[in-house]
Every structure is written in structure tokens, then in C-alpha cells.
Amino acid sequence: MEFLVNQTFNGVTYGALLFLLAGGLSLIFGMMRIVNMTHGSYYLLGGYVALTVMWGGGHYLLAVVVAALVIALVGIVEWNAFLKRLSGQELGQVLTTMGFALIFQDLAQVIWGGDPYTIPVPAMLSGSVSTGPFTFPVYRIFIVAVAAFIAVLLWLVLERTRIGAMMRATVDDPEMARGVGINVFLISMAVFSLGASLAALAGVVAGGFVGVYPGADFEILPYAFVVVIVGGMGSIKGALIGSLMVGLLDNFGKALFPELSYFTLFAPMAAILAVRPTGLFGRA
């Protein structure tokens, strides 16, 4: 029983972490269908920018906001200058975003050096709460809260607001959307920059758990893609459920079959995709 509770908690919190890592990508890749290899860079740069703000004396919340805004700007520039011309060209997107990812990786090395850092976390988010035989780290609960917040926010905006409807229209059929009078250019740019800023947000929040260091950008990239794909493209709900599934599978897998730890993430993913090739809730 204790085992079940602990592992479920761990699986859910790890799933929340994965969703956080993938949140921005589920917008840019899941919805806009742009294969964005720069996602990891947005994540890492978000962490670095937040660190710079905090080293300068800024508060944690200020760091989050600044990071999100700065990276949103970076995303706007990248999209505007390069990506908006590449809709539908997957390989072109892979090359361009990969090029940016490499450039950002190198720039980050030049600007912040290569030492590993942790994001200083506000005192109230550290430590753990104990009930009975269980100890739950507060920060993990915080991550779940942030992931849930993002999920709800995205769902509300996309499904329940006019701007969300415009976003969905733009992404599904730009021609029609333009025909109905939607400023496709502005909306697309907005979606992309929102995705970038979500990635940056994840970089700060997850950075407190995972750390901020060179290489983190490419380390989290496969996980983010796994979540979006397993959950299915174009579905925020799918991304959420996908990340929970992956988190639980990976966690229980490592706990029950430690010998197979190297396979508990990607083997189930291959299996899920083999059974449901468009992901759990994907729209082809």
C-alpha cells in the first residue's frame, strides 16, 4: 500500500514535470505542426535568464516573468525571420530550428559559462510535508500545481475564448481563417511566442528540480517530443494524459523492473505508438 501510494505520487509528479517540459511544445508542435528543435533551447535559456535576474537580486516571480517575456521575444524573432515561411516543410523546420538550437547552445556557453547551476527556490517551496509514513516534497507538489495551471489555462484559452477559437482556426486552416478576417500572421506569431514563453517558464520551474546546465536543452528535448506524440498531436488534453501515462509507466517500470531502467521510457512509447500510431488522442 505504501509502495503504491509513493509510486503513484512519484509517477504523477514526474508526469507533471514532463507535461511542463512539453507544454510549450504541445502548442508549437502539437498545434502548429512546427517541428521545433529549439524548444530545448527556450527551456534552457529561460532558466539562464531567470538565474541572471535572481543573481541581480530579483525575486523568483520577477525572474519567471522576465524569462517568459525575453524568450517570447526570442521566439517571435525566430518565427518571424525564418519559420513562418516553412509551414508544412518538416525537414526545413528541423534544420532551421536545429541550427538555432546549436547557436543558442554555443551562445549560452559564451554568456553563462559551463558550470552547472540550480535555481534558488523560495523557502516556502522547499522541504517536504509528512503525513504518517509518507513524505512528499513540496517542490514536486508545486510542479504539479504549475502543470495543472498551465493545462487549465491552455484549455480555457483555446476552447473557451474567442482568441482561442481564432488560434485553432488559424492552425487548422489558415486559408479559411484569413478568409474569415482573422489576422493569421499575428495569431500565428502569438501562438508561437506563447509556446516559447511556456518553454521558458518550464525552464525556470523545472530548473529548480532538474538544474540549469549545458546540455539540458538537448536532454529534455526527446522527453518533450515523447509527451506530445504519445498524447497525440493537436490535443492539450492528450498531452496531459500522455505525460501522466508516460510518467507513471516510467516510474513504476523503474521501481518494479530496475534491471530495465534504460528501457522504461522509450519501450512503452514505441509500444503505444505501434498500437495507436497517431498517439492516444491524436488527430491525424
Binding site: D115, F209, E219, K254, P258, S261
Partner: protein, 413 residues
């Protein structure tokens, strides 16, 4: 479009031409050291620390070795064996270096060793610690002036039982060769001294979330031995503490779990961690205090063992070159001299090589403590003159297989 294309072609041709022209034969000119390290990618900072260590020694000594000027050519291995091999070829054939040094990852070490033997050029391995490089798979031309992975673990096993009094330990390590060797060395001496490893956990490389392992840790242990490196060292102590384990189970482990590379970024969760290593920035000798002070002034951070071993490598090459009158072109003599170097006062203490080509040096038992708002690895005990074989006879030791995931087997699991 076409002129641009032609220009590009010409530039490419020029670049190829530059790489293709082999420089003239070097006579009694400068001593050339080819230094291999990952200068880009995830381990770039470690590579930089390594280069900084060597460079600092050279700067302190007028950039001279045995009266000759020194030229260091640093090549980026990018942490990949095939790139390292290519750069090695360049350094030896095009740059005509006299000696090579460096390398970080074990697989790069294993990839380079046969080539170094083939070229018959000495290469110093100050960092790469894979046990078998000086045990079951030695290479004649490799001078391993650093350490073996299990070297610090051997005395630590005894220390944990006899001094710390922990008899039942759970080990958790990163699931790769370095992890296996550090944990294996610990388990061997720990159990021979009367301890029991009651659980062995392995987390794959790149694990971000240790929760599935932390929640499995048996609570009836006395302590937890953790072997973490780089990014995992960054994450693990906090997760360990937040899982409520730090309060119940003292954290001990391999030296890299709390080494000076990650210590500045760790917080109070690291305090109290006890680990063994060949170095600590807190070693209280004049040589080390000076080294730490100078390094810090120059590079803005406390040196880690990566910097120390490369700093001492500069001195090592110097001692060997001096012993043969600066005639590093005579590679056989130079190799022999490199094998005979003895340094009594390196920042990490006295160092000299054993008959199998690995250092006999001090092993420091360190404890993470906070001093003036900073975390330091305070030395709480020193084991002098420890070899890679600890107290075992080399032939006996070499009969056992190299430490891996399942060796020593977990009898008490």
C-alpha cells in the same frame, strides 16, 4: 548566386588546403604538448577547467619545460571517441607533438590507448579513471597520472565500518562503468571489514528524477552510498533531502558526488556528506593553499580535482623532461622518465607511480561543511600512500574480474 557558390567552393578548398599542409619538422624548437579535452558540449566546462589547470602551471613557470619553450595545442574531443581519435591523429601527424595529455571520458580513454601505443607516443591520462587501463588492459605508452575509479573507494569501505560505524549500507549509483567501479571498490572492502551492502540500486545516465529509486531505499540501512556525477550530482542531494531521507539516513558516497565542480551550486542539502577522493580544495598544506588561492584569483572559482591533476601534469612533464636533459624527441627515454616521476608536494600531496603505472597517493576522506557561507570538502581523515590495489597483492587483485554491475555480487540483497 553563382559567384557566391564559387566563393564558397574556394573558401572550402582553402580550408582543406590549410588542414592538408603538414608543418615542417620540428627540431630543438618548442616542446609541443597535445591536449585533448571536451571543449564543447555538456562537459565543456570540465574541459576548460582541465586546460586552465595545465595553463596555470605553465604560466607560473614561464611557459618553459626543461629550458625549452612550450606550445600547448588544445583539441576539442567533443566527448566522442571518434572525434578524439581524429584529433589525436592530427596532433601526432600534423602538429608533431612530443607528448599528449588529457581525456575525460572512460570510453575515450579506451579508444585512444591502442592508437597511442601504435604511434609510440606518450600520453598522460590525468583524469580518466577507468580501472582496467592500468590493470587488466594496460597500454605501454599511456601514463596514467591521475587515479583509478575504485582507488578512493577501497580505504573508504574500511573507514565506513571502522570509523563511522555503519554496518548496513544501500548503494545507489549511475548505471555505467565509472559508477560500477566506484561502488564495486567500496563494496569489496566494506564487506571484508564486516559491513553488508543490503541493496544496490542503479539509475541510468541522464536520470532527472530519482524518485523511483529513492522510494525503494530500504529504511533498515545505516547509510546510503551515492555515486553521482556532474548534472546528477547537482540534482541528487536535494531530491534525497526532500524525500525525507537525509534526516534518517546519512549520505555518503563517491568523491564526484560532492566534488568542487558541483559544490558551489549545492545548498545546505549537501552538508554532512562524507566522500573519499584524491583531492580536496580544503587540503591544509602550503602547496594546496597557494594553489587554491592562485587558481581562484585567476579563474574566479575554487579548483576541482580536474584542475589539480592537469596542473600537476604540467609539473609531471617538466620533471620527466628535466630528467632526460630536455630530449623529449627520444620517446622511449621520455616514456621511461615519465614513469619514474615522483612529486612529493603536489597540491594533492605526494604522488608517484606504482609498477602498473597508476599513482600511489593520499586518499582524503572529506566531509561537506559550510565555512564563511561557502561549502567546502573539509578533510577529516587521510590515508597516505594508497595504491590502486589497496592492501591486496597485485596478482591476487588482478585475478578477480573488473568491478561491474554484478561484481561484487550482492550477497546480502
Amino acid at each position: 548566386m553563382s559567384t557566391r557558390r564559387i566563393a564558397a567552393f574556394l573558401i572550402a578548398a582553402a580550408l582543406i588546403g590549410m588542414g592538408g599542409i603538414a608543418p615542417a619538422e620540428a627540431q630543438k624548437g618548442p616542446i609541443k604538448i597535445g591536449f585533448l579535452a571536451p571543449m564543447t558540449g555538456g562537459a565543456a566546462q570540465i574541459g576548460k577547467d582541465m586546460v586552465n589547470g595545465l595553463q596555470m602551471w605553465l604560466d607560473e613557470n614561464g611557459n618553459q619545460i626543461a629550458g625549452r619553450k612550450v606550445e600547448v595545442i588544445v583539441e576539442d574531443t567533443q566527448g566522442q571517441p571518434n572525434i578524439a581519435l581524429t584529433k589525436l591523429r592530427k596532433l601526432v601527424e600534423s602538429d608533431k607533438v612530443h607528448v599528449l595529455a588529457g581525456g575525460l571520458f572512460a570510453h575515450v580513454g579506451y579508444a585512444l590507448a591502442p592508437k597511442v601505443d601504435e604511434y609510440k607516443i606518450p600520453m598522460l591520462y590525468p583524469v580518466m579513471a577507468a580501472d582496467d587501463l592500468t590493470q587488466r588492459k594496460p597500454a605501454k605508452w599511456v601514463v596514467r597520472n591521475g587515479w583509478t575509479s575504485s582507488q578512493p573507494s577501497h580505504p573508504f569501505g574500511e573507514y565506513v565500518v571502522k570509523t563511522l560505524g555503519y554496518k548496513r549500507v544501500v548503494t545507489i549509483g549511475i548505471d555505467y562503468a565509472f559508477g560500477w567501479e566506484v561502488v564495486g571498490g567500496f563494496q569489496k572492502t566494506f564487506e571484508e571489514a564486516g559491513g553488508q551492502v543490503i541493496q544496490k540500486l542503479w539509475a541510468p545516465l541522464g536520470t532527472t528524477d530519482f524518485a523511483p529509486y529513492l522510494s525503494q531505499i530500504r529504511k533498515d540501512a545505516d547509510a546510503v552510498f551515492a555515486l553521482m556525477v556532474a548534472a546528477s550530482s547537482l540534482r541528487f542531494p536535494k531530491q534525497y533531502q526532500d524525500a525525507g531521507l537525509k534526516a534518517k539516513l546519512p549520505l555518503i558516497g563517491g568523491g564526484t558526488t560532492f566534488d568542487e565542480f558541483v559544490l558551489p551550486s549545492l545548498g545546505d542539502e549537501a552538508i554532512g556528506g562524507i566522500t573519499p577522493l584524491i583531492y580536496s580544495a580544503a587540503i591544509d598544506t602550503p602547496a594546496n593553499k597557494r594553489f587554491v588561492k592562485e587558481y581562484r584569483a585567476k579563474f574566479g572559482k575554487v579548483p576541482s580535482y580536474y584542475s589539480e591533476v592537469c596542473y600537476t601534469t604540467g609539473r609531471w612533464i617538466n620533471e620527466a623532461a628535466k630528467a632526460i636533459g630536455g630530449d623529449v624527441e627520444d620517446r622511449e627515454r621520455f616514456l621511461a622518465a615519465l614513469g619514474k616521476v615522483e612529486i612529493p608536494d603536489a597540491p594533492r600531496g605526494p604522488v608517484k607511480l606504482d609498477a602498473h603505472g597508476n599513482p600511489i597517493q593520499n586518499i582524503y576522506i572529506r566531509k561537506v561543511e559550510k565555512k564563511d557561507g561557502e561549502l567546502w570538502n573539509t578533510v577529516i581523515h587521510t590515508y597516505p600512500a594508497v595504491s590502486q590495489f589497496w592492501k591486496y597483492k597485485p596478482d591476487e587483485f588482478l585475478k578477480q574480474p573488473v568491478y561491474d554491475r554484478n561484481y561484487p555480487p550482492c550477497k546480502y540483497c
